[in-house]
Symmetry: C2
Subunit: 157 residues, 2 copies
């Protein structure tokens, strides 16, 4: 199973990027993993929120395959503990999912075509985080989940 | 009101440190703010979890004043939305608290002398984060709370 991380927005900011890249490289020892950063539409500043989300949704859907398991990160979703996340990933692997896609939407969230397409909506927290921090948290939690599944020492509680 | 951020552990890791320092400097435009990093006891490796937490508790209590409002970060606490955090801080300021202390415990949590001393126990998420990431999240959320209280543009939802 491949893990694909999709984020709508800018390339990783340098000072968060080091952490994001570090944890992503560590995930790579357990699953093939890659980031895809989708740039917002060119005339985004001229669009209202709704139109922007619609245009972003088109770009996102172009990058999804029919078989992809899509996990949307959204604070209105369901929270998981780190252990539950590990189990969730294991279940997807057991169901022979080919690609598990984690999606971080744009600045104003995502269009309903995406919320409908999502197989699961995951909330990291009741808190709202900036996108770069969501990327870092996502990469760290996926790495942590991998170590939990292998009973490795990183996670203790 | 001063904001004091206390963490038991190592100095900021370089690649998280830049983000932590950046957000802390931004908080400084709203409240006097400072980090205090408490090094674990010298023979920590030789102690069991319980003894370690007990020794860490002593070091923490030495750094607290009687009037300090102590907010303990612990995943067994209560979650707040970013807006609720802002209101929480405003309330403490309204009650003329002199110092609002946010405490990130050691690797195995904190001794019960600390959980009893805490005026509030705050959970960032159901997820377990590494300490350096907790520091970054804490600094970012406090900055975000400041902008919410001043109705500034950083937070939108």
């Amino acid at each position: 199973m491949k893990i694909q991380l999709i984020s709508v927005g800018k390339v990783h900011e340098p000072y968060m990027g080091a952490g994001i890249e570090d944890f992503t490289a560590r995930i790579g020892k357990y699953f093939p993993v890659a980031w895809q950063i989708i740039a917002p539409p060119k005339n985004a500043a001229a669009m209202d929120d709704k139109e922007l989300k619609k245009q972003e949704a088109k770009l996102i859907l172009q990058n999804l395959g029919n078989d992809d398991q899509l996990i949307l990160l959204d604070e209105r979703g369901k929270q998981l503990s780190s252990t539950e996340l590990a189990q969730f990933i294991q279940q997807r692997a057991n169901e022979s999912s080919k690609r598990l896609v984690f999606l971080i939407g744009g600045a104003y969230g995502v269009d309903e075509t995406i919320t409908k397409r999502a197989n699961f909506t995951w909330s990291l927290s009741k808190l709202v985080f900036p996108h770069m921090l969501v990327r870092l948290i996502l990469a760290e939690q996926l790495y942590r989940a991998c170590t939990i599944l292998r009973n490795e020492k990183y996670h203790h509680q």
